[in-house]
Subunit: 338 residues, 2 copies
DNA sequence: GTGAAAGCGCTAACAT
DNA sequence: ATGTTAGCGCTTTCAC
């Protein structure tokens, strides 16, 4: 059983303070003899310091709390990885709370991390179009003495500031839209996660801009199976659709799977595109046209900004890039007008 | 600024004790009037309790520490997801430390979580063939007053017990080996992560059993690119290879990519198989033959076992299942003997 | 029902 | 260089 400092001090025959000075890595001078004795006893007892007691005095060291929509979702995982990589490099302890995309839980998670003395809180849950949420989040940030990093576009109340890491989601949508328009697509279906999430909403907005018209949007769970299902429904209702865009790659992969299962040739009969550029996209047949969003770098940047000392509120924007692969091509309308 | 309990008590005009009784959710009787007053002040001040002070007294509530080899690796991510899902359901706070597959860091991470008062520590880093490591891990577990769950096969010193969650990795290898042997493959190359990891070693052992001979093994980083590279090297050296097995799916996917890039027809010219059954395997062309390992369930089980009260040291074994898809087929030797 | 006071394990002033 | 002591913020006896 791990004992406490007092026990170590007693067994080593020194005072509490001396034991503390040796074991806490203080640079306070302690004679070699006593130091040795304390170290020996500590090792023998397998003394493990109580981080809570320490934190109570010094204020929690370097602990980062990360709020993500869902562990296991490639989108959030990518940011998580980036953030975690930096955290490990900087020897920060990371606590992760999954909000299940529920704003209530996100706020609750924020409080939890706050109360656990996190010095940095990264909100990677994607902003929401919702005044109440915006107000609540702002309140949390205001009451938090550490640093808050917001990934994604979040609206905040007056006077509340935070470090921000963003990607050009409108631009991502626009690139995709232009790409499809250039290929003659006039009937496009969008498979979308929740439109209340700002990143998703922004992508759809951009898509409309690039296409020059508002595409039909179907909201489903942002998963491979959600995409599969949605494709079925979209294609049943609309026989003139020539392209389908998933607001996240997994959904596009589901669309691809549906096409493969039903003898729909991609991109000959139907073009399919995704967004985010998760690693498997290029391994598929056809490989997936998508927009590269540097999610991992964004996660890493979030932590780096929070850790750098001269920044209190900045915004770092990340460029996105269209990745044209083999799942998109000319609209069939061009060759065989319906 | 988040104040402390004392400030709340003062502003509400009550004693520290009363404020605590209201805010800590104690069932101690407090008059409705005072209770209301405290609550109002706390809300107004946005009081956030200090978890460290609480933990110092009550011993940290329900916090789980999870040690994984690497956040971002599909293998670990799957277990992480399972564990995290249960943790969220049970409202446990999760801290994750990535060890970078370094045993030193794993031990250090264990100490860290221990000192932070984790009540449960899940070691998902995969066991290692290494007596020194085994001894060190045993020491850590012995000194830990909470519950330890070991995922994967770990050797422990005499008298040290822990909850264990395992999969039949030898069986997984054997299934793959038998499958290939039945298809006439006599020259098989294995792309492997570190053989010191027990799960990898077990898979290779099983593979040899199933095949009836020891295949050639090449150790590389357990990534898609590692698999790509290794395939190149394997195929350069050995022109009679008819099958390649990756000890993890990502490596097999790399092999598939290499084949696609170099006009090697799978499974006609070469069979490729993986292990773990990550979700994208079935989306590829050809879809990937692999062995399903219920990693997510294992992660979930790890936490559930740790949370259940009547278990101190159990072992739960998970069955694995061969998933034959389109990347494996008869050896070309059968039709056109070299 | 309420408040005063002890103390969780530790560190940092303050003596010596 | 070493030891003594006062807290960090909170819960929980213990008196009232």
């Amino acid at each position: 059983m791990a004992g406490n400092l007092k026990q170590v001090a007693n067994r080593a025959g020194v005072s509490l303070a001396t034991a503390s000075r040796v074991l806490s890595g203080s640079d306070y001078p302690v004679s070699a003899e006593l130091r040795e004795r304390v170290l020996a006893v500590a090792a023998e007892m397998d003394y493990v310091p109580n981080a809570h007691a320490r934190a109570l005095i010094q204020g929690a060291q370097r602990t980062v709390g990360i709020l993500v929509g869902e562990v296991g979702d490639p989108y959030f995982d990518a940011m998580l990885n980036g953030a975690h990589r930096v955290a490990t490099e900087e020897s920060c302890l990371v606590t992760i709370v999954s909000t299940g995309r529920d704003p209530e839980k996100e706020l609750e998670g924020f409080r939890l991390m706050q109360s656990h003395g996190s010095t940095i809180i990264v909100v990677a849950g994607s902003g929401l179009h919702d005044p109440a949420y915006q107000e609540a989040l702002s309140a949390r940030i205001r009451s938090f003495t550490g640093r808050t990093v917001l990934i994604g576009r979040h609206a905040l109340s007056e006077g509340v500031s935070a470090i921000r890491v963003e990607a050009d989601n409108v631009g991502a949508g626009r690139m995709l839209g232009e790409h499809l328009r250039e290929h003659g697509h006039r009937h496009v279906g969008v498979i979308s996660g929740s439109g209340r999430v700002t990143s998703t909403g922004d992508r759809i907005e951009g898509l409309a801009q690039g296409l020059g018209f508002r595409p039909q949007v179907l909201e489903v769970p942002a998963t491979r199976d959600g995409g599969y299902e949605a494709t079925a429904r979209l294609l049943e209702g609309q026989h003139d659709l020539t392209a389908i865009v998933g607001t996240a790659d997994q959904m596009a992969i589901g669309a691809l799977a549906y096409c493969a299962d039903h003898g729909i040739s991609v991109p000959h009969d139907l073009s399919v595109a995704g967004c985010n550029d998760i690693w498997v996209g290029r391994e598929l047949t056809p490989s997936l046209t998508t927009v590269h969003i540097p999610l991992e770098e964004m996660g890493a940047a979030a932590l780096r900004l929070a850790l750098s000392d001269d920044v209190r509120s900045t915004v770092q924007s990340f460029p996105v890039q269209l990745v044209v692969r083999n799942s998109t091509g000319p609209s069939p309308d061009l060759t065989s007008p319906a």
